[in-house]
């Protein structure tokens, strides 16, 4: 089932949770709503489910207006961050609940209900827990039960609110891989909320990045990571280095670095910011001609498994920059704290600091000045 959201607005008192959301979700897609806490992502999910009402705007399921439909008539599956399993029921009864509360005319017989629950238990590979109570299970098991319970009513959309937020790192990694596999099997339209960018990048087909009740960018994991539309997206997804400088007549100067920025032809000494990912930086022993490098000193070297992270102190303003490289590459020139180096960004993006002028961001790829 496809979902269309149009000009959705929701306020809580004076707080605007959603400031005009437009979003289309295709049938069978797995979409992540990603953003910091308070950005409105959970509110949006709850409005899609019908657990919350929007102040204005429209929601359509398969092109049909669904905003007025009661939550029990929307045929959605909802998975809560804290599982919300029924404490006084066994795992079996939890999963069977949605089948047992159906109106008599649509209710399955006891034998069919049992078969259906068994089928779901084997899908989540927890058949042996059927007789247990939720308080007897670990967090990961509870969340899988919650998912099976949501799937029991054969929903057309699966909505997950920070489904792995309350789990520890190892279980979380396992479960999100498992969720991705499950989605590939079932092909059910799914929307999940997360504040964990790694989770969104790994699991989702498309990512909707939200901030302050608005959508900052919609795109595939690669799109939002490689070509962020706004400074917020840049900062929120992955680590970044920020270089401050000024744009003037088609060039941006960042300390000793001069970068062409033809889009900012008309800028006159406008403050600008350049974003560089730690892995998009080359470190040289000698400066290059033509203002393409920044002088810095290595202040710290940390080995993080397969990666090496170097902390640099920029000579011009004393700001810290981070560089990441593989261990193989580090081994070719093992820099030590105190070594003088020259920073050469391979790829950077420039945004003007003056927000009143809506310049497009500039992409710059290393050489070719």
């Amino acid at each position: 089932m496809s979902i269309a959201i149009r000009a959705l607005i929701k306020r809580f008192g004076h707080f605007t949770a959603l400031a005009g959301i437009n979003l289309d979700i295709q049938t069978g897609e797995l979409v992540a709503l990603l953003g910091p806490s308070g950005c409105g992502k959970t509110t949006l999910l709850r409005i899609i489910a019908g657990l919350e009402n929007a102040d204005s705007g429209a929601i359509q399921f398969d092109g049909q207006e669904a905003g007025h439909r009661h939550v029990r008539d929307r045929n959605v599956g909802f998975v809560f961050q804290h599982y919300a399993l029924f404490q006084h029921m066994t795992v079996f009864e939890n999963i069977a609940f949605g089948l047992r509360v159906r109106p008599r005319a649509r209710r399955l017989g006891e034998i069919q209900i049992r078969a259906k629950v068994q089928e779901l238990l084997s899908l989540i590979q927890l058949e042996w827990l059927a007789g247990r109570y939720p308080s007897q299970l670990s967090g990961g098991q509870r969340q899988r039960i919650a998912l099976a319970r949501a799937l029991a009513v054969e929903p057309q959309v699966l909505l997950l609110d920070e489904p792995f937020g309350a789990l520890d790192t190892k279980v979380r990694k396992e479960l999100r891989r498992w969720l991705r596999r499950l989605h590939d099997e079932l092909h059910m339209t799914s929307v999940f909320v997360t504040h964990d960018q790694e989770e969104a990048l790994e699991v989702a087909d498309r990512i909707v990045v939200m901030n302050h009740g608005q959508i900052e960018q919609i795109g595939s994991p690669q799109e939002v990571y490689d070509t962020p539309a706004t400074p917020f997206v840049y900062q929120f997804l992955g680590h970044i280095n920020l270089f401050k400088g000024r744009a003037h007549a088609g060039w941006v100067r960042l300390g000793g670095l001069r970068v062409p920025a033809p889009e900012y032809q008309n800028a006159k000494h406008t403050p600008a910011m350049a974003y560089v990912r730690p892995h998009d930086i080359d470190l040289l022993r000698e400066p290059e001609d033509g203002d393409t490098t920044l002088a810095a000193t290595v202040s710290r070297v940390s080995i993080l498994g397969s990666l090496v992270r170097l902390e640099l102190l920029q000579q011009s303003d004393g700001e810290i920059a981070e560089v990441e490289m593989t261990r193989e590459r580090y081994a070719t020139d093992p820099l030590q704290p105190g070594d003088a180096v020259f920073v050469k960004p391979r790829q950077l993006r420039i945004f003007l600091r003056d927000d009143s002028i809506d310049y497009p961001p500039v992409y710059w790829n290393g050489g070719g000045i």
């Binding site: 489910a49 019908g50 657990l51 939550v71 029990r72 959605v76 599956g77 909802f78 809560f80 804290h82 919300a84 399993l85 029924f86 404490q87 006084h88 609940f97 949605g98 509360v101 159906r102 247990r132 109570y133 308080s135 007897q136 299970l137 670990s138 319970r149 949501a150 029991a152 009513v153």
Partner: protein
Amino acid sequence: MLVSPIQRAITEPPIVRRLLIGLTLGFLTLFLFLPLAAVFYEALRKGLGVYFAALVDPDAAAAIRLTLLCAMIAVPLNLVFGIAAAWAIAKFEFHGKSVLITLIDLPFAVSPVIAGLIYVLMFGAQGWLGPWLAAHDIKILFAVPGIVLATVFVTFPFIARELIPLMQEQGIEEEEAALVLGASGWQTFWRITLPNIKWGLLYGVVLCTARAMGEFGAVSVVSGHIRGATNTLPLQVEILYNEYQFAAAFAVASLLTVLALVMLAVKALIEWQAHQTRRAALAAKGETEG
């Protein structure tokens, strides 16, 4: 008893502990156990014959019936009200919520005598509704309805007060989950909410029943003390006592005490049961994860 150095460092010296325990026990003995024992001693002093004669006396029997009737009406009424109020407060956001919570506490704050007087003011011959009630030949004051009303007023907060924090702590996620799964409001209430609050609810019912049977002040004001008709057990005790029928007074008092003790035992049992359920769950959880 072996005391590790750490325990010694964080507990009081033995002398202080013994003193505190002794003080508590002494206080309880003097002000609770002794009076309680005195009730039964006085009741049985003139022999079992006198004791049972006092209980089967028609006036006493009528008082027992009235007391039980009052409890049987007041407790279910407060049960329904308590669940409704706690549900509204714990599960919805609305204006004037804090005012409502304060209002529910009002019967705790107001003296029971005042509670009784409120009903005299409303339903008495000179009260607001008195003339109208007299014209339609409806008797509330100095009759059973007045006693029931006074009892309901006084026992009003018990169940609601017990449930509000419990339901607030539980939140509404389970109910939301049930709704998303297609359950109706009633199904959600019977299958999810009620099982989750059952221990707290039982506890509140027990407290409410104990208070409904033991209430004196408010009932005394509205009852009119008509023997065999509008006397509850506590009022019957007072009348017998004032008439110097000590053995009979204490016999009825002992019956009331037994009812209170039974309620106390039920309450302890409920607490123990709830505790066991929790412990079993925790133990089993440790087993799974261990």
